[in-house]
């Protein structure tokens, strides 16, 4: 029986509590306790970005994030981007561009794109390519993904994608 720690956090704008294993990753916690299966386990060692989430405004690999360290933090997963107002600009842009092939990398790509646009709404193509370096698409559909992030930037500004 491994050691359990009680934590509370704000998860997708809702305050939640959980009992977490001391060696558990944030990724395991999200999927086990909260049924949030957007973040994906792919490489499990921070190489691919499929598990990207945003914690206290910074993107990170949830597979390498100790679940216990989420205590008191503000956590956003891809599920949190879809609100009453509809899908997020990044999600809409991915739909518009058809920037999804097998889909496994998509939630991580969207979260990293969200992070990049939060920091710089007027992001250049070079900055997008650079910012997505930690996310791997094994279908290699990068062109549409990059176009989608650019499109999201335009949607945010109010022009029609």
């Amino acid at each position: 029986m491994s050691l359990k720690i009680e934590i509370s956090l704000v998860l997708n704008e809702t305050k939640v509590e959980a009992s977490v294993g001391v060696t558990e990753s944030a990724l395991e916690l999200l999927r086990r306790e909260f049924d949030l299966c957007g973040a994906k386990l792919a490489c499990g060692e921070g190489e691919c970005g499929a598990c990207t989430i945003i914690v206290d405004g910074r993107s990170r690999n949830s597979c390498l994030t100790p679940a216990v360290d989420l205590d008191g933090r503000d956590v956003m997963t891809v599920e949190g981007l879809w609100t009453e107002k509809g899908v997020d600009a990044v999600q809409q842009a991915f739909i518009n561009e058809g920037a999804v092939q097998c889909g496994y990398c998509t939630p991580g790509m969207i979260m990293q794109a969200r992070y990049l646009l939060n920091r710089n709404p007027d992001i250049s193509e070079a900055e997008i390519i650079r910012g997505l370096e930690g996310n791997v698409c094994r279908c290699t559909g990068y062109k549409k993904i990059i176009a989608a992030v650019k499109g999201a930037s335009r949607i945010q500004e109010g022009s029609p994608g």
Partner: protein
């Protein structure tokens, strides 16, 4: 379920430290493992390498370990400062641009946002990118423990082998400190690997010094991933210092450097390839110095 060749550590106690004092107390009996960003520790934890003690000591809420300050010509980087914070720091961008440049080559956004300066040092990978410029800047590591005075150790003497350091089991790195370099400071960082991001360096090099009229003085030549620890090529430095960088000096420096590094062949690259890249980096950067 974990694959069968994995061995999750047995952790029986968790301390969420809110002050340095609390962390040092939790580490005092030598059974504690400090947790900073977790990007190394969580990737290693299931490999059964025995480096995780029975008490996990979370440092992430200790604000006094964070941040970059400049005082009396010295820069102090708190151990918990992330690589992203180095990359975004305006003060460093002006006075020690080498550090943000290295941070820019470090892993990915997601890793830079959590990986810490102290963690990159404590993990003691021979391929730790951020260690190279800090060694080249003659940094000292500030080390604290419960009930003893803090001590300072030259970073160049901190590492004893892959994953091994002089840090005691009850000790914690609290900061790195170095002098702001001179106005004519020249510092470059080169690394190579199979992918632009997230590459574990096959070879990394940092060359620094005071550069005037094509002559490098007080140089530091530090290599990563070509030996069991970061390698300081002190003989090559002596050869370079104060000499006109002509073809003869470059050739001599390359040969001397090749004798000071000790690369191995492993899954990532061969000894021959590593030596070749090390020579290429040094030659390229000495030629850059010559033209300045």
């Amino acid at each position: 379920m974990l694959p069968q060749n994995r061995f999750p550590p047995v952790i029986t106690e968790y301390v969420n430290a809110t002050s340095l004092e609390m962390a040092l107390e939790a580490l005092a009996d030598g059974n504690g493992t400090p947790l900073a960003g977790g990007s190394d520790l969580w990737a290693q934890k299931d490999n059964g390498d025995g480096r995780i003690g029975s008490r996990l000591v979370n440092l992430n809420r200790i604000d006094e370990l964070r941040g970059i300050s400049v005082n009396n010509g010295f820069v102090r980087i708190g151990a918990l400062t992330s690589i992203s914070e180095i990359l975004e720091n305006q003060e460093l961008a002006g006075s020690v641009a080498l550090l943000p440049k290295v941070a820019d080559r470090f892993a990915s956004d997601q890793i830079r946002n959590v990986a810490t300066v102290g963690g990159n040092i404590a993990n003691a990978s021979p391929a730790a990118d951020f260690v190279l410029p800090l060694v080249a800047l003659d940094s000292e590591v500030e080390i604290c423990s419960n009930g003893r005075d803090p001590r300072k150790q030259a970073l160049s003497e901190f590492f004893t082998g892959p994953g091994k350091t002089i840090l005691g089991a009850d000790e914690l790195i609290t900061a790195v400190i170095f002098k702001i370099p001179q106005k004519n400071f020249h510092g470059v960082f080169c690394k190579t690997g199979p992918r632009p991001a997230l590459e574990i360096s096959l070879v990394a090099m940092c060359l620094t010094g005071e550069l005037h009229n094509g002559i490098l003085d007080n140089s530091r030549l530090v290599f990563g991933a070509v030996g069991p620890t970061v390698i300081c090529c002190t003989n090559t430095e002596s050869l370079i210092n104060g000499s006109q960088i002509d073809d003869e000096l470059v050739a001599g420096a390359l040969d001397m450097m090749a004798g000071e590094i000790s690369p191995i062949t492993d899954v990532r690259a061969s000894k021959w390839y590593r030596t070749h890249i090390a020579r290429t980096f040094l030659e390229q950067e000495l030629i850059v110095c010559r033209s300045k």
